[in-house]
Subunit: 416 residues, 4 copies
């Protein structure tokens, strides 16, 4: 019997946060090197959270050796190479700036920040650090969905020709129930914005990245349909439906602690919609909505070009619909139609590392791919993508949407 | 052997126009009384068109006894009870006003008119005529799609609860080919507007009728992606693709005659998109697009309410998707999901007149239902629906969309 | 004003039967010449039914001038050119033989007959008559579904290569309710067999016609799940569900009159399944089932060949799914997938006669196409297709399935 | 900073095999305890494979400390608690029997064995071992697909009523290319049978487990469409298509070594189809096919009962289609239809351990669930499911199918 040895080059990662995003990042850091092996092997050595008991339980679940409650200690720990930020948006800036200053690579969950100012400071810090070989990336994991990566590659290949129009929707329904409580995501101070920042950020990044276009102007509208909700403690007598809803998002949401009175005010948007133009002449409609009854996580994107179209729905994440406008006839028979590509072939992005054709991946794998890409970039001493600059770009669009919505949908141009 | 007799009460119809709409109306007038019999039996006795040869050929095909080339004679023919207007929009107003003045019932194709002014005059004339038992209706045939009529009925029943959001798209792709010629639908003088008036009119009427909401404000954007196209005669050397495209819309389009130079200017929009609010507090995104590669006639509408959602795509016109938010569990098992209702049961709108469950109807049948509803209303001496007032309402929204698009998407409120 | 004239060459048709099939045939005879004009114009001049009152009502609905109650008079009426047989299967043989003997063309509903013997006599008579320019055809209308006609054309073109496997299902659910009454279709004397003859006949004809293969052996199994049902009169107290079911098939079914006792015995199969081999080396599984809960008319066929596959479901009759195995990559990107062809383009079978691309047809149009093809063949003095020989061929397969099912699924070879 | 500790109770697992199944099992053993924690924590301490170099590389990828080349040493290693058998079927029996004899729990990939005899010996050994608290389970991982587990739970709840019919298909297409080489799965000595044992075993187990019925008789047919294929070495000049196909299944297949001549004989079935009856009165059609062009891994199951139906396709593994026949009307509106349940809610099987609603799982997770269920059973000192007896049951059906196919489809009853 022989005994194996660990790789000599390891990348020590500290995870800041241990709820929904923390868990999926932990799983991704562990899985990535098995399927996307490089000379540099990441391992999460520390998890950091304010609640030591919960953080310890988390560390035990994922075999993480150390637990910390103060992120500043982690950022200054000389054994740590990467700070992975998985906490709510209002904490991103301070942690990321400190980490970069301490010479750590940073992977930061999206949206980059809760406002444009913070995002700008982060992008500037990342640009400086990059010159010193310290890299930062923002977690737009949906880019790593194989079907969307395939769409991006096809469009970059020119397979869609001149893109004229796109439509994007990110639809959820967890706020339809009026008894659903006032969780942190409904508090502008912590979450920045509502559906817009949470869902819209993904949508904007994807639409831009897949199409290769940048949004350069918007007209927007947003709504808070239910403006008063039970405070977290007041919501103990929830109906079964609300309880279910609460459960289904339990890993995401931490109820606000400050109760006393029964109801509180929702300070973010429930839904935002906007029209957009792009720098390359396309137009688009967009929607981020937490009141779209019947949809749990319907992130949809359709792009129409002169040579073809693609359509995607994250609820069927292994599929890409594709219409090829170049070869719509066979033997003089008209056979044009949207085809359903089951994006599970070895030649598809990321798929060679996984199973034989036809064996679907899940949401989780987008995070594994994100880690794999991040590690590969660091190993090659090149900046990982998407950069904080990309995150800032999305933030600029979010900001323009907010400004337009606040100004009665007036057209709002983005600075070039 | 016995010999049957014709119904004693007939409604004599004159058809103005004999191309795509003319043909489907002719078929509908003939079919309706067989499947929706009433005491009043319509029959088309005259078809009117400028090209006598073509009109005669049409009359022979449909067994129509008389042919006319001057619509004024038809309108003043004392044997005629109904004038059915199936010509381009710029001719609607004059014919409809004359017909109502002559005491004829009028069924007029959509959009009601090419501008708001004309539409207002038509609605006023129809209101006056109605007082004298002379009725007018506008041809929003999609209302008669059983799946959409079912959706409308469900929403009117309260099955969707409070409606918060909707999204509507009417997607076609026949203009993607730059060699497609400058047909009349691309000429603002004849068509009024482009995708907006042609496709958007249907979309607006449906969204409002199905939801029971009225659009009360918009922010809009429109584009003409290809502004110069071959004049009809110059386009004889079309590529195979363009030729096919031309063929597929051949019954719809009459090429412009004024050639001489090779290219002409497109004076209408290729695509229009808009945000909207409604009088009952919902928001929506809308798109009318002739550049949506891969779509021939994708009229899509989704409506989300607090108790449920519906979704529809005209390319699958016999289906309605429905999410029921009230009963998503069975035996404590979570079974919520969008269901595909095959709208072919006897209890569905219009279906009792047709075939056993499971036997789909086609596009044509929406026109049969339109005629059946029109005749039933006339027989009952009650105004048919949708009225010219409804057509004017749609025209007001179209007008607001055009004004907003012309004013850099500025918010445009509709008058109450 | 000019007055049009009827075509000088007419083909006088007598319709035997006036229920579901009678109505859709009447509509088809009237519609066909408007959209598929030839020098020969059919018109239904007589309808024949035992119930004079009902037949007269039917004649009035469709503008048919004469009514008869004795089919023998009709068959011998010298003014009649075509006998169109729309009555239950046990009456087909006698009427068809008499009509052919009287020199009338015959269009006969499927299945050709209730047993092999009768079918053989009919095919022999048709062969003789054909030599004299008298033609007979069996009503496998589903062949005229544009999507299936497209599939047939593609396979005939060689687009699927060597066909290896197929699977066919015809699924309905109207017998799931045990209180559904004992209608004639459940009586072996009138219907011959149950799901097998009614649904299986269509399935077999389609599978053979579309694939170009002939079934040459089967192993089969059939079941009657509910063997006792209320007699028609005893079923007056039906539950709401059964009443609905009864309504949905009301035009099809005539309840048996012989009651007295409350319950009667179902003498046909509720479902039949079989394995098959073909003369060209393919294998297939087939199912005809009236207990497939949730399906009203799901006629499904999938065929896999070395170069591609097609799949079809009649509940989406305007669509053909197609996988092209020859060109699954574009720019080295793997883009293979089943595409949804919306079979509504002018280049698709039958579609040039109808509306612009994207405007769906319905079940009814398969009958219009059937009439158009029949008339075109008669006008050209050539035998229409499918012939009685084709009907006999299907009957041979049905017979083999019944024999195998009766012999404990033993392999049953068809005679070449 | 605190330091976490490993769980005191660990279950040491040895993996026999390191290709496709080995890799996914390794990932599952590592992931399961993080998401389904119990007092007993499994960890893979040894991997065993004939090729030491490859096994070592595998061990490094997954952090497995020990490598072995002789499975007998592993089976007798006193530190090992569980033997996980991931090698081809002809090796299952010997290893499993030795492992059970050595007092190890066994998890064995499907099919249980390559013939009935071996399966019977394995089931007998497992029954004996179970009495001593040593447990064995067979890897029908598809049972752990949440959508199928939901279907099973619903049927067990009675939500489908009396089940009448089912249809199952497992469709792949990797053998369509005649230049695809003669891999071990095409060799009867190693694989036992072809599509039947590989795909059919899953299909039979699922159909029986989900429905709660046992197949008690079959009539079957099988085919080898291409009987000669290039030996592995002779296939170096494969066309691009075959090369791609080879790649997509590369982790699964090890080419046979014995070449010398260019072509070899396929000794297993390419496709098998069968009719079946069940002990509770249902009928079904089944197909296992590696020539179904366009399908990579389409495992489909539909079950129809008196109260409802379910349908599933593994290519959309997060969805279950469900028709509820009990409540098809709302407010007297007919709203019956197959609904698409996105099986990602916390109340669905296995889902509470994962992400918020709407975030899909992949193929891999079925193995994580399998490990979780196995460990939970062992921790509770109860036999895990499915047992070797269940594996034998499937083997009996496979054997009956083979015997029927060999006897010209004659009906073959299973012993009770």
């Amino acid at each position: 019997m022989s005994t194996t040895q660990a790789s000599p080059h390891t990348l020590n990662v500290a995870l800041i946060g241990y709820s929904f995003m923390g868990a999926i990042h932990a799983q991704a850091w562990r899985t990535a090197p098995s399927f996307f092996p490089t000379d540099l092997t990441p391992r999460v050595t520390t998890v950091c959270g304010r609640n030591e008991y919960a953080a310890t339980e988390f560390a035990n679940r994922f075999g993480i050796p150390h637990v910390e409650t103060d992120w500043r200690s982690v950022v200054n720990d000389p054994t740590i190479d990467v700070i992975d930020i998985c906490v709510p948006g209002h904490l991103h800036t301070e942690i990321a700036l400190a980490a970069l200053a301490a010479g750590k690579h940073v992977l930061c969950e999206k949206p980059l920040a809760n406002n444009l100012d913070d995002a700008e400071r982060m992008a500037a810090a990342a640009a400086s650090a990059s010159a010193n070989g310290i890299f930062a990336s923002v977690g737009f994991n949906y880019r790593r969905t194989p079907a969307l990566a395939l769409a991006q590659r096809m469009i970059a290949n020119g397979d869609l020709g001149v893109i004229r129009s796109m439509r994007g929707q990110y639809l959820q329904d967890w706020l339809v129930d009026p008894t659903f409580p006032l969780v942190w995501r409904l508090d502008a101070e912590k979450a920045g914005s509502g559906a817009l920042g949470d869902l819209g950020a993904h949508l904007i990044d994807l639409a831009q990245w897949v199409s290769g276009h940048n949004i350069d102007g918007v007209s927007a509208l947003s709504r808070t349909f239910i403006s008063e909700r039970p405070l977290a403690e007041a919501s103990s007598g929830l109906s079964a439906t609300a309880a279910t809803a609460a459960t289904t998002t339990a890993t995401t949401e931490t109820a606000t602690d400050d109760s006393g009175s029964a109801m509180g005010t929702v300070t973010v948007d429930d839904a935002a919609i906007w029209l957009a133009t792009t720098d390359k002449g396309a137009i688009g409609t967009f929607e981020a909505n937490r009141f779209a009854t019947g949809h749990n996580n319907a992130l949809r994107l359709e792009i129409n070009g002169s040579l073809g179209s693609i359509a995607f729905d994250f609820e069927r994440l292994n599929e890409l619909e594709y219409f090829d406008n170049r070869s719509t006839t066979v033997n003089n028979v008209e056979v044009g139609g949207f085809r359903r590509i089951h994006v599970t072939k070895a030649s598809h992005p990321y798929l060679a590392a996984w199973w034989p054709a036809g064996h679907s991946l899940g949401y989780e794998h987008t995070f594994v791919h994100q880690v794999a890409d991040f590690v590969a970039a660091v190993a090659a001493n090149t900046p990982p993508s998407p950069s904080f600059e990309d995150g800032l770009n999305v933030q600029c669009v979010l900001d323009a949407v907010e400004r337009s919505a606040a100004a009665h949908s007036s057209w709002t141009q983005l600075n070039p």
